[in-house]
């Protein structure tokens, strides 16, 4: 019964997220509403961790797999991508690496500065 309850709760939260997306005029997808709802549910104690834990763990574990169909779908967008392919490739490679490096370095510098102050 444990898994039945857990998946029911997760699907219910996804559904509420979908409804919020439907009724609120913001560019926020159902999944983000759902994530925020579940987070506040857990934080306020309305939802106990044990009532979602194992199923959440399972879904997170298989998450990379869930992106495969979208990736294979690139096959169908080939026609529109092809004409500007190399420009897109340059932008993706350069900006992804830069964003990763900058956000990581900035976070780390702030963390370590804060840490140093804390110790002194």
């Amino acid at each position: 019964m444990k898994y039945l309850k857990q998946i029911t709760l997760i699907l219910a939260i996804s559904f509420v997220g979908e409804m919020l997306k439907e009724f609120l005029p913001l560019p926020i997808p159902a999944s983000i509403y759902g994530m925020v709802l579940l987070f506040f549910g857990l934080e306020t104690g309305l939802i106990r961790l044990s009532s979602v834990e194992e199923t959440a763990q399972y879904l997170i574990e298989i998450m990379p797999l869930l992106f495969i169909p979208a990736g294979v779908g690139l096959l169908d967008s080939w026609g529109v991508l092809y004409p500007i392919l190399w420009k897109i490739a340059v932008i993706i490679v350069v900006s992804t690496i830069l964003v990763m490096a900058v956000s990581g370095r900035v976070t780390q510098r702030m963390l370590r500065r804060g840490h140093g102050r804390h110790n002194s």
Partner: protein, 230 residues
Amino acid sequence: MNDILLNSLFFGVMVSFVVYEIGMFARKKCGFAILNPLLFSIVVLILLLAVFDIDYETYNAGAKYLSYFLTPATVCLAVPLYEQFELLKKNVWAIMAGIVSGVLTSVVCVLVLSVLLGLSHKEYVTLLPKSITTAIGMGVSQELGGVVTITVAVIIITGVFGNIVAEFICKFFKIEEPIARGIAIGSSAHAVGTAKAMELGEIEGAMSSLSIAVSGLLTVLAASVFARFF
């Protein structure tokens, strides 16, 4: 081939799982970090479909049930976030500074490169939301007058690319703190990157999940401002 498989609901799902497992096995055997199971699966499946002349629709008739679980799986990212909330609160300024710098780097970078490479305004706004989660990115692209199909493709390629290079980039730029690694991966490669961050550790995964939501929302604002610059 198509006719028989078109009636199968389990073909797409089954073959995706099997190919992914093979990818996991191959990575374990040769120990190459470069052999990314997600990229491996996508490439092998595209080749399989091409060789056996199977339509994407035929494959997707079953495989769409995998995509279906993306929303519930993303909702579940709240769990690691909840478990690491104390750590988040303690380091809230560092985390926010990291995410904001990531969002700004992304839009500035796309702006500069679009000018340099001579892209049109339409192509520029199509690429602006490339680092954020598909569902938000599609909305941004549509709002600004971009080509949504290209945006989706670029977002997925960005995620897969980020997923593959994450470990290497963190090592190269000496990003060692688990919090900083999570923020770096989530800000640059959204949910696909987060799948990798989850493999690296619980803290990385939680911080990456947080970045998806926060950087996604900040990009909505940043992109609408930056769309006017070019």
